[in-house]
Amino acid sequence: MSAPQTSPQPLVSVEGIHTYYGKSHILHGVSLDIGPGEVVGLIGRNGVGKSTTLKSIMGLVSPSEGKITFQGQAITHQPPHKLARLGIGYVPEDRRIFKLLTVMENLRTGLDRAGVEDARKQALLDKVFAFFPVLAERRRQAGGTLSGGEQQMLAIARAMMLEPRIILLDEPTEGLMPRMVSQIKEIIGVLHRDGVAILLVEQNVPLTLEACQRIYFMEKGVVRHHAIASKLSVNDPVIHQYLGV
């Protein structure tokens, strides 16, 4: 598959990975690239392996074949905590807020890194609180008491605490009210302007087309197609082919 080249060196490059859960072969040689600061979509029907691709990049499942690089450096079998420190943020589809930790403590899991001064921590907090005022209001509340939309905001804010170079964002708008959806779209824009790359898995096609520069289409554990987002329309036959009901 010939991908339009985006930048001399991709930020993250996935090269032909095969991933298994036990004996089930889920990814059959997935390849994709994300350039620095680029917002890239990954779409496909349920169960094609989108989340598994993100988990493989994050080191949560280990590909048995293939290679993943970050800024040119192989990271294929690195443990997730090292990848987080390198600058990969992860927002899973089930959000996985630490339910018994307060909002502030959830944020601190990413903020309490060696070598981050208090002033910088405060600046990071101010930034997410300015963007998600509701999190500031609930900072002392347990994560598990937040609504679904608030938990999604917290999951994104928590990943932002790592000051990542890329965020792996898995179905952030799933089950959210329209008002929350547009807020998620806005934060993607803010992150993009800040130069943070995003690999976005989404079912919401209009949002994906608007937020992303490029889109990969997945089918049965492989990337089948690849397109520039601005050249696609919501009713494009390609979209029907890979997502159609």
Binding site: A84, P92, R96, F98, L100, L101, E105, R108, T109
Partner: protein, 290 residues
Amino acid sequence: MEIPWDIILIQTVNGLVTGMILALVASGLTLIFGIMDVVNFAHGELFMLGAYMGVVVLTTTGNFWLALVIAVLIVALLGAAMQITTLRPLLGRDPLNTILATFGLSLVLQNYALWQFGPVARKIQEPFTGQFTLFYLQYPWYRIVIAVLSAAIITGLYLFLKYGRYGIWIRATTQDRVMAQAMGIPVPWVHTAVFAIGAGMAAASGVLFGPLVGVNHAMGLDWVLKAFIVVVVGGMGNLGGSIAAAIFISLLEAYASIWVSPSQAIIVSSIVLILTLLFRPTGLFVPTPK
């Protein structure tokens, strides 16, 4: 029948003293279970080794408090080494693997102690021998000091978990190991640290309790059995529940031994355990069973 208030008060004090020591042993056990799903059958041996380290340092330095601190540090380091070599490779395997591994460690440590220190029980001299009058009894101050110190150590642990940076790491890892890693928390080292903390707390209980009983290679057995009961009754992995259960069960046993012999009083904790398993398997002091 007339209620013997004086005896009840004395037994309340006794129950609280054993309850606090038991809480100290059990909090390590429950912390370890909560974070890595490991039932540490070697916990009693860490208690026992703590007591022996106390004996060794006390005989060389003559200072009880120094012995306490050094025993805690040595056993904490030993705990870390045990975790890295034996438990870390087994993480995520069937619980049977870790049960067998810790059971094996417990046998090794017991026999090491027997070989190193011999079968004759050693004595730890309490740091002071003052007494106060409790009705018709001369009650040793040292017992009160044990209870207060245990409470202080547990409070310290609580504050560390609640406010410390690494305390937050421990709580996050306990709740969701995978997400904790994805947030950059070095989960394997958090596990090691928690095991070391649990081991250190067991050692502290061993040294503190040493003066009240003899120190021998099998002294961990009784304690770990009771600590297991406490951990189950308090709700596996629930720190507050374990502390409450330790005090509750120790008080019940203390009161029971007013009427029956102490060895029969132990039946009380078994009854509490069975009733808990039957009616509140998630723990007696867990507000809302999940």
